[in-house]
């Protein structure tokens, strides 16, 4: 029965993901019908349609998938590892640190030296941030201190990012950086996809390996270790996996918050609250949410297209507040 439910859940998520992907391909400056989109994808339509669908809209959809997979899976993995439903790459400062890394790369003009400088810097900073969090868990800190440390990391990364913007010599560059930091997957090409794809795949691979161990960790660290869970390896996998996948996607999409918080929370009940089981559905759910939000920013009739990161934060922050209030009530 649980097997059956798990498969139905995965099926529903996959179908939704594919459906939303097709819808996303339809929207844009030149609205296309579903038939035209499919013809464009298969290369049987006009050259213009093929160009629009394949070169302009498809990268956006693929990026939505990658960003969603990364945020959803790393949110679920971090929550399982830290045994805390409030853990999330954005909240723990991983995304902000990756953003800082990217801004540093832009600021010092490292991007001119190498195409890999930007994702490299983003991932290095994400790794540093997760390393600090890891050290804190090693030192036996409580979940509360960990989240507070995450907030401190976020603030620090934010402050250093502001400093870079403040000192930036070129106002045009500043606007680029700010817009990029707000988080968006509009106007991206397959070059961006290629840039982050290997790291996202590697990161997701590491994260998905942790499933069974995360399940056992529900028992607490002592009992989990006596059941054969290698805690050091597990922490390493989750931290490296989150840093790689989130760092790489932040490098091409900017910081998009709260997806890693909201998605695992919504899907947890469908996997009977098993933290390891949650990884794969959460990855798919993340992609569904990003795609839906990305379609929404294009549908909303605003003077300028809203940034994706702004929309997810607008939805996610109140959600987070409700979550905090509810968990406090449960403790009383």
């Amino acid at each position: 029965m649980p097997q059956f439910r798990f498969r139905s859940l995965m099926l529903v998520l996959l179908v939704t993901l594919l459906g939303l992907s097709l819808i996303s391909l339809c929207f844009g400056e030149a609205p296309l019908s579903l038939g035209e989109v499919i013809a464009g994808l298969l290369g049987t339509g006009t050259d213009e349609q093929s160009l629009i669908v394949r070169q302009i809209r498809l990268p956006r959809v693929v990026l939505a998938w990658l960003v969603g997979f990364s945020l959803g899976a790393s949110g679920a993995a971090l929550q399982g590892l830290l045994r805390n439903p409030l853990a999330e790459p954005g909240l723990l400062g991983i995304s902000a640190s990756a953003g800082l890394g990217a801004v540093v790369a832009l600021y010092f003009g490292l991007t001119a030296a190498s195409l890999w400088a930007l994702p490299g810097a983003a991932m290095t900073f994400a790794l540093l941030a997760t390393g600090v969090l890891y050290a804190l868990t090693q030192a036996g800190s409580t979940n509360l201190t960990l989240i507070l440390a995450g907030i401190a990391l976020t603030s620090l990364a934010g402050a250093l990012t502001s400093l870079a913007l403040n000192l930036a010599p070129n106002p045009g560059g500043v606007q680029d950086m700010v817009l990029w930091l707000l988080g968006s997957i509009a106007d991206r090409s397959f070059d961006d996809v290629r840039l982050c794809l290997p790291f996202v795949i590697a990161g997701l691979g590491l994260l998905l390996m942790t499933g069974p161990s995360l399940d056992v960790l529900a028992l607490g660290e002592g009992e989990a270790r006596t059941l054969g869970v290698d805690l050091g390896r597990l922490r390493g996998l989750v931290i490296l996996g989150s840093a790689l996948s989130v760092g790489a996607t932040v490098a091409v999409s900017g910081t998009i918050g709260f997806v890693g918080l909201v998605v695992p929370h919504l899907l947890r009940r469908f996997v009977d609250y098993r933290p390891g089981r949650l990884l794969l559905p959460s990855a798919l759910g993340g992609a569904v949410l990003i795609l839906a939000a990305d379609i929404a920013v294009r549908l909303l009739d605003t003077p300028r297209e809203l940034m994706l990161g702004v929309v997810t934060a607008l939805i996610g922050a109140p959600f987070f507040l409700v979550l905090v209030l509810r968990s406090r009530r449960d403790m009383l």
């Binding site: 045994r83 270790r225 059941l227 054969g228 933290p275």
Partner: protein, 265 residues
């Protein structure tokens, strides 16, 4: 050969010696009680045996040093029930008990298909023994204290390990559930298993355990059968209490009655 042989166990944590030169053994089919006042180092001993703490001295399982055993193999040799109750997520009782089968899973990609037949049998029999079978669809967070203690014990039994380490399994339970859990541990000792249980209740220790190890401030005070260990002198020396002792149906009881002048300086 004894099931577990602890010799010269030393544990130092943060420069403080918590256990000094402790030696004892658990035989097959034996229920061994570890008793002593708060801070005696009982939990530390259990954690050291479970290889959760660095330690000096030697801990041998069927003659093999536990510390040299691969973690996976060790996981199927000993099952550990911790003192705290930290199950984080509201998983179902069935899933909780199923986690006890973790040491027998294949690699992560092969283990994705769910539990195998032998696992399901072990899980069901552990749940029936502890009388949580009818609770199997409930969430652990919705259980009462007694139900949760039994479900966690079922998780430990599902490992089917020859050695069970239980750190104060009856600490938070009412008398009825205390007796129930002790009886379960007692019956777990049949079929050649050994059980080490940390206890505060001296009557339970006296009634259910084959042998007792009494320790204080990290050192062994006495070891032997309950009647050998639970003497007025030992109780005064380690716990600083005078107790009412007697026999009922051929089994001893110990009821701490008043504090005595402890003999420590």
């Amino acid at each position: 050969m004894s099931l577990l042989q602890v010799s010269g166990l030393d544990v130092v944590l943060g420069g403080k010696p918590l256990v000094r030169g402790l030696s004892f053994a658990i035989g097959e089919g034996e229920l061994l009680g570890l008793i002593g006042p708060n801070g005696a180092g009982k939990s530390t001993v259990v954690k050291a045996i479970a290889q959760l703490l660095d330690h000096g001295g030697e801990i041998r399982f069927r003659g093999r040093p536990l510390s040299a055993m691969p973690a996976r193999e060790r996981a199927s040799c000993l099952a550990y029930l911790s003192q705290e109750d930290p199950v984080q997520w509201p998983i179902s009782v069935r899933d909780l008990v199923g986690l006890g089968r973790h040491p027998y899973r294949g690699s992560w990609w092969r283990g994705a298909g769910g539990p195998r037949k032998g696992d399901l049998e072990a899980i069901e029999s552990a749940m029936r023994l502890t009388d949580v079978w009818r609770l199997r669809e409930r969430r652990v967070t919705q259980l009462s204290g007694g139900e949760r203690a039994r479900a966690r014990l079922a998780r430990v039994l599902a490992v089917e390990a020859p050695l069970i380490l239980a750190d104060e399994p009856v600490a938070a339970l009412d008398p009825r559930h205390q007796l129930q859990v002790m009886r379960l541990l007692r019956s777990a000792c049949q079929s050649g298993r050994g059980v080490l249980v940390v206890l505060h209740d001296l009557t339970l220790a006296s009634r259910f355990c084959d042998r007792l190890v009494m320790m204080d401030r990290g050192e062994l005070i006495a070891t032997g059968t309950p009647s050998e260990v639970l003497t007025a002198e030992n109780l005064a020396r380690t716990y600083g209490v005078r107790a009412v002792m007697g026999e009922h149906d051929g089994q001893g009881y110990v009821v701490p009655w008043e504090t005595s002048e402890p003999m420590r300086s």
